[in-house]
């Protein structure tokens, strides 16, 4: 294993451990512990417990894992517990998932050893008009693997839909001159229509313009 991959694996393990600890206080911790064991031993059982995770673990934000809700974190752990040669379940769970399940798969991608295989799921989510899915598709996994044209469209779509840009992981690292051109075009349309741009988009455009001028 290359040193870089080892680091990635260590990071993934640390994140899984953090979510596991943050879920300590859920209403039914034994259910989660049993489900994680079962999924590791019998991967074909994952659809049923994946669907039930919200009812068993609750849906509140986790104080010890900011940005995660209990159902999302529990589902991410279930995916991470699948044996390495059963990654295909991830696709199926997304394909047949309700909106919360789809969102959990998207959030879990950075914790899974799937390389770029999850990118088609990001494309699917960014095509939807569901703000929860679009936002979940633009996290750390997109930062690493999503192609630049799709990433720019995702950012622009957030601006259109009123999704705050802080959901986009690595926004300033990946934002480029082409995104600046697209944002400027949107700003011109909005100005012509007498409508406002969201403040965070205006600020991003200013930062990009300053970089280009500098």
């Amino acid at each position: 294993m290359a040193p870089e991959n080892r680091t990635t694996e260590t990071t993934r393990t640390a994140e899984v451990d953090r979510l596991r600890a943050a879920l300590h206080g859920v209403p039914d911790p034994q259910w989660l512990a049993d489900a994680l064991h079962r999924v590791a031993a019998e991967p074909a059982t994952v659809p049923r417990c994946f669907a039930a995770a919200g009812r068993r673990c609750g849906r509140d934000p986790l104080p010890d894992a900011p940005g995660w809700t209990a159902d999302e974190a529990a589902r991410a752990l279930l995916l991470a517990a699948l044996p390495a040669d059963h990654a295909g379940h991830t696709d199926t769970l997304y394909r047949y998932g309700d909106a919360a399940e789809k969102r959990a798969v998207l959030r879990a991608l950075p914790l899974l050893d799937v390389g770029p295989a999850g990118v088609p799921l990001l494309h699917d989510a960014i095509r939807t008009n569901d703000t929860r899915l679009v936002a979940a598709a633009l996290g750390p996994y997109a930062r690493r693997y999503l192609d630049q044209p799709a990433w720019r469209q995702g950012v622009l779509k957030c601006v259109f839909m009123g999704v705050p840009l802080y959901v986009v992981d690595g926004l300033d690292d990946r934002a480029d001159a082409e995104l600046a051109t697209m944002l400027a075009g949107l700003a011109a349309e909005r100005t012509a229509a007498g409508r406002a741009m969201p403040d965070d988009a205006t600020e991003l455009l200013s930062r990009l313009s300053a970089t280009q001028e500098g």
Partner: protein, 283 residues
Amino acid sequence: MRIFDPHIHMTSRTTDDYERMAAAGVRALVEPAFWLGQPRTSPDTFADYFDSLLGWEPFRAGQFGIRHHATIALNPKEANDPRCRPVLDLLPRYLEKDGVVAVGEIGYDSMTPEEDEVFAAQLALAVAHELPALVHTPHRDKARGTERTLAVVAESGIDPGRVAVDHLNEVTVELVRDSGCWLGFSIYPDTKMSPDRMVELLRRYGTERMLVNSAADWGRSDPLLTRATGEAMLLAGFTADDVDRVLWRNPVEFYGQSGRLDLADLDDADATFEGNSILRGGN
């Protein structure tokens, strides 16, 4: 007046309808899987439809603070098409989902042997997945269809208190009342049932186990007829508590038997994305 519409096909309605319904007091609804007007020819298209009932529609409803749930099934009409039969194999996966509060709509359309088989199989799924069942009664030959429906329900072994038999009228109401099942009435502009006739039925049979819905769909229908029925009840001398029982507490009690009805935080259910309005929705 708080309203829970226990049967409405929002897939066929516009976003403006959600807005008008919210303004009229509709705060929760159940959308049963049904016949879309155009025949479907493969199970995949049902999977997409079920996904929409558990993804896109709850999102649309949430923009107006309305809580959306669904019932999932192969509808009676398409149960007759062999190309759609594999939908039965998809159901176990969907019947485990959070937003699914019953198996439905099931029951009869033309009372064929195929419909018999699919109806019984889906009642068994309701028992296996610990869900209530929403049963449609046929438009043609309704009285005999309702009798046969109740016989199949009794034979299945499901608790009648976990079954709602829908689209009832003056002719079928007593049959269903005596069976112990819940009684559903679809208030339509000029066919199944009207607000005034509904008030008469409530006067005669009381408010227990009575469910009033708009069943609004792609046909001539009106998603605000639940509200109109509540107003007609008040005019006829029913109390606000009677109206609340019929239009809110009864459907909550019936679908609550699934253990999956989520009405938490409805009072502050503004449509926000982490504090930001999502009402613009990509315009």
